[in-house]
Amino acid sequence: MGPNLLVNYGEAVAAILFCIGFTNLLLQTNLIKKIIGLNIMDSAIYLFLAEKGYIAGRAAPIVTNGVTSVEAYINPIPSGLVLTGIVVSVSVSALMLSLTIRLYLRYHTLNLDEIAAQLKKEGR
């Protein structure tokens, strides 16, 4: 075990959340819950990234009063990555939800196992 687990409590929380989301995505049979798991997973990564960019005692990376010194602001890169990541996650969630809607309209259930069973029964 390394020395920084307690210092990096934010990342640790992110990791735990990531695994919770991961488990949800793997184990839940309900599609909506799976999607929630997915979102938890993504958010965990954003938390992780945000923690990475944070530097104690510095301001958000928006130039105020013309001060452009490195010591004044936190690292802007993780924030940019998070922005991009959020868009990706929105798109993916929308896609997953619309897939879920289609499956629900067709099979009247959100349970993936049940859908698989009905598909087998259809025999196509």
Partner: protein, 497 residues
Amino acid sequence: MDFVCNFPFFSILLSLFSGTICSILPGRAAKVVNRIVIAAVGVMSGILLVYLLGTGESFVYWMGHFPAPWGNEIRAGVLEAGMALFFCIIMYLSMAGGAHKLFDEVEESKHNLYYILINLLLSSLLALVYTNDMFTAYVFVEINTISACGLIMIRQVGRTIEAAVRYMIMSLLGSGLLLFGLCIMYDLTGHLLMSNIKESVSVLIQTGEYQIPLIVSVALMCVGLCIKSALFPFHAWLPDAYGYSTVSSAAILSSLVSKGYIFLLIKIIYRVIGFDIFNNTRIIDVLFVFGLMGMIFGSLSAIKENDIRRMIAFSSVAQIGYIYMGFGMGTQAGMVASIFHILSHAATKSLLFIAAIGLTEVSGGSRKFIDLTGAGYRNKWAGVAFTAGSLSMVGVPLFSGFISKLLFAQAAVQVEGKMLAALIVLGISTVLNAIYFMKTVIRIYAVTGDTSYPCITFKDMKVHAVVLVLFVIVNILLGVSSQPVVNMIEQGLAMFA
């Protein structure tokens, strides 16, 4: 800088932009745009390849006004240009070969959406091939995933939608792991560009700092990409997705999409981590073992399958196993064999899918083997093409499959510890391949008394037949003149370093 150096950038932007254009065009015009774009990108990649072979050096291209660690970059070498050219050829042929089926399986008002997906898929594949930036790679991996999912479910039957859900779930697990690995890697090195990460990584390795996080991050990225490219235990979504989607989609998905991820993994191995450092980790052993398992279990599932399309899909699992086995050997030769197999498998698998559709068409649309009896006589072109594809898969000389197996075996012989396992599994898997492909070939050439199905002659399937012939030619070219291709791959890998 020569004007040719703009070509990678042009091809990415052109295909990206054509996606936008297609959104306002009717289906037929979108089709034309799509074909032109693929052809144009192919031509550009071809010229670029010739240029690079002439100069013998790779180059980086700024995406913006800022140099390496600050701005985005793309990078082109022989391997990248070759891959792009090859992807374009396969994609063009697959699109042309499956076009007539599109009208039966996709609503006409949604045809232009289909071509948007294809264009964006092409652009994302190109970006994955050319990119020199990890985060760009991640973004385009997502485009790739979503448009692949769209390709699966554009034929809207229950199976495909369910398959699309499964595909998305697995892909998202993969993306999550990839992104997490990426973040850790960023935290350790402070860079997102591949070349800079590589420098930092070698420094880290020398100083011995952050060893564990480094390995974990590499492992996470590898696992993520393995999941996305359907390596053996993560292949549950594959048969339905490839088996029921419309045929062009199936051909493109199996031959290009998974290969895009694999190519990204190769780039990560060479350009991000460094080949030697990667080989010193235990990760290659894991890849090796799963590759071997995939080779056997994929073939076993294919033997049990009763549906020709699903059988071909399961065979993909086995072939992906081959590729990862090549990675797992941890030698240059293994890598070359894997890359050659990427090409060979792409050419063969799309041929098989396109030929299979020709066979099912003359069997009343059924893809069960029992109905396919004698289909080879009813559609001679498809029958011959399917036979050629099967022979390539089985590894008969003169076809591309033989060369890739030969390369794998030659690579395996050089690796002390993994030699026997690799060769034995290679042998078993080849025999299993022979069993299910030859079974199918016999089946389509068995004489049947049933004359209820129509026969198709060349007149009814001109484009389809020409595409099949071209696919066979590509296959035989790869099999007969493999030497230039292998040289090119080696040159390209040398440029990676």
